[in-house]
């Protein structure tokens, strides 16, 4: 496995056809004699195909990519795969979040009335005035405008949904991590993984969401529970009568 992607800008220039004939010749010769360099080219070629599929290239770059390496059926197949991955990854986010909410409601349904429990539970956990303080300045300015009450309420509801998702996704891993961080000193992903026995990837993904919702603070690569995170845990413990200490 290559350790560093060599001469990335040079390879990109070559792939886009921006090099002189002499430089092209040198690059091409190196493809035969330097397997790591060749692997680097394959990686960068794939990434340029992804950039093309995601619309991240400038018009001149798009045209160069079309001319240089979207010529053969095999290359266009790579592009089709990148496009399909883009579509699939967008839809999987929506599917996971929706399913998490459905699961959440199903678990609490026996203990609640026929009406949806969401608004009442959320209002107990996330009081309107407390969450307002966490909104950005832009959001606060929207709230102050008359006629934008709906916008501010919608934004707040979305923020609450995001917060809830950060706690319940992946079988309540977020809640577990938050409880772990509350009871311990600031921890790295590796330390959390060894305590909870879940993969680093899952922990990293959920921690990112917890940070975005201000439940967890991140300094360098070390994570800690915020005051808001501790308050949320306390409210959940009071509402459920269950201690969340690990």
């Amino acid at each position: 496995m290559i350790q560093n992607l060599p001469d990335e800008n040079l390879i990109k220039s070559y792939l886009l056809g921006d090099l002189s004939e002499n430089d092209q010749d040198q690059i091409q010769a190196r493809l035969f004699t330097d397997p790591e360099f060749f692997e680097g080219l394959l990686i960068i070629e794939d990434e340029l195909t992804d950039d093309y599929a995601f619309g991240l290239l400038s018009d001149p770059e798009r045209r160069k990519v079309e001319r240089r390496f979207l010529v053969t059926p095999q290359q266009r197949q790579k592009l089709s795969l990148a496009t399909a991955l883009r579509k699939y990854s967008s839809e999987s986010v929506l599917k996971n979040t929706s399913q998490a909410f459905i699961d959440y409601e199903a678990r609490l349904k026996p203990f609640e009335t026929r009406r949806s429990i969401f608004p009442r539970f959320l209002s107990r956990l996330f009081p309107h005035n407390r969450f307002r303080k966490r909104l950005s300045n832009t959001d606060v300015s929207i709230q102050k405008k008359p006629g934008s009450l709906w916008e501010s309420r919608a934004a707040e509801a979305q923020a609450n949904r995001n917060l809830l998702a950060s706690l319940i996704n992946k079988d309540w891993l977020g809640l577990h991590l938050l409880a772990q961080l509350r009871s311990s000193s600031p921890s790295t992903i590796m330390e959390l993984a060894s305590n909870i026995e879940v993969s680093n990837v899952d922990i990293a993904l959920i921690l990112n969401k917890l940070v975005q919702c201000h439940l967890v603070d991140k300094q360098q690569r070390v994570f800690s529970c915020t005051q808001l995170g501790a308050e949320i845990l306390e409210k959940i413990e009071k509402a459920t009568g269950v201690s969340l200490n690990p």
Binding site: Q28, D46, V71, T72, Q77, S90, V201
Partner: protein, 188 residues
């Protein structure tokens, strides 16, 4: 049709270790295909095979006297093959620059089939592989931020490790999707 003896001699010339020789051969063939592709040749695989055949035919005459890396000899012959190809009349060259609209039209072919196969093939990956790939492509949409840096930071790995992992996962997925599409197409 390649005679086995000629091919064995070729491998032996590349490296006395059969396994290392085989790997070098694969890299040579792939490098030739890539170069022909980048030069706009739609028959890249055929041209690569033609190059290798020529080297094999010349080998008895040069094997004992050639100095330097044998891999570069393939490159030299390949350049000649390319020049000859470029000199052909336009009617012989089955090469057309696809317009942007044509590329989009090609992308819509078999979209549903590809999507179904992708769904099936993603399930064959390990959980962490699937999540890594989907998270990477979810974040890829951010135009102004280097998504790779963000995902690498979140995972606590270097950007280059991430890129290599993604490349390998993508290759695995691509092979699976192609096989799935071929199977489903032949069954329908």
């Amino acid at each position: 049709m390649i005679a086995q003896e000629e091919f064995d001699n070729l491998l032996n010339w590349l490296d006395t270790d059969r396994e290392r020789a085989g790997k070098k051969y694969e890299v040579i063939r792939q490098a030739l295909i890539k170069i022909f592709n980048y030069q706009g040749c739609s028959e890249a695989e055929d041209l690569a095979d033609e190059t290798i055949n020529r080297v094999m035919r010349r080998l008895p005459a040069i094997a004992n006297t050639y100095e330097g890396d044998p891999r570069l000899y393939f490159y030299g012959v390949g350049k000649n093959v390319l020049r000859e190809y470029m000199r052909r009349s336009p009617e012989e060259m089955a090469f057309t620059l696809p317009e942007h609209q044509k590329i989009e039209a090609l992308e819509t072919e078999d979209v549903e089939l590809r999507y179904d196969c992708m769904d099936k093939c993603l399930q064959t990956l390990k959980d962490w592989e699937r999540r890594l790939l989907l998270q990477y492509y979810q974040d890829r949409k951010r135009a102004k931020i280097d998504a790779r840096k963000l995902v690498a930071q979140e995972l606590g790995i270097s950007i280059n490790s991430l890129r290599v992992n993604i490349y390998n996962l993508r290759k695995k997925l691509e092979r699976c999707v192609i096989e799935c599409m071929q199977t489903k197409s032949s069954n329908s």
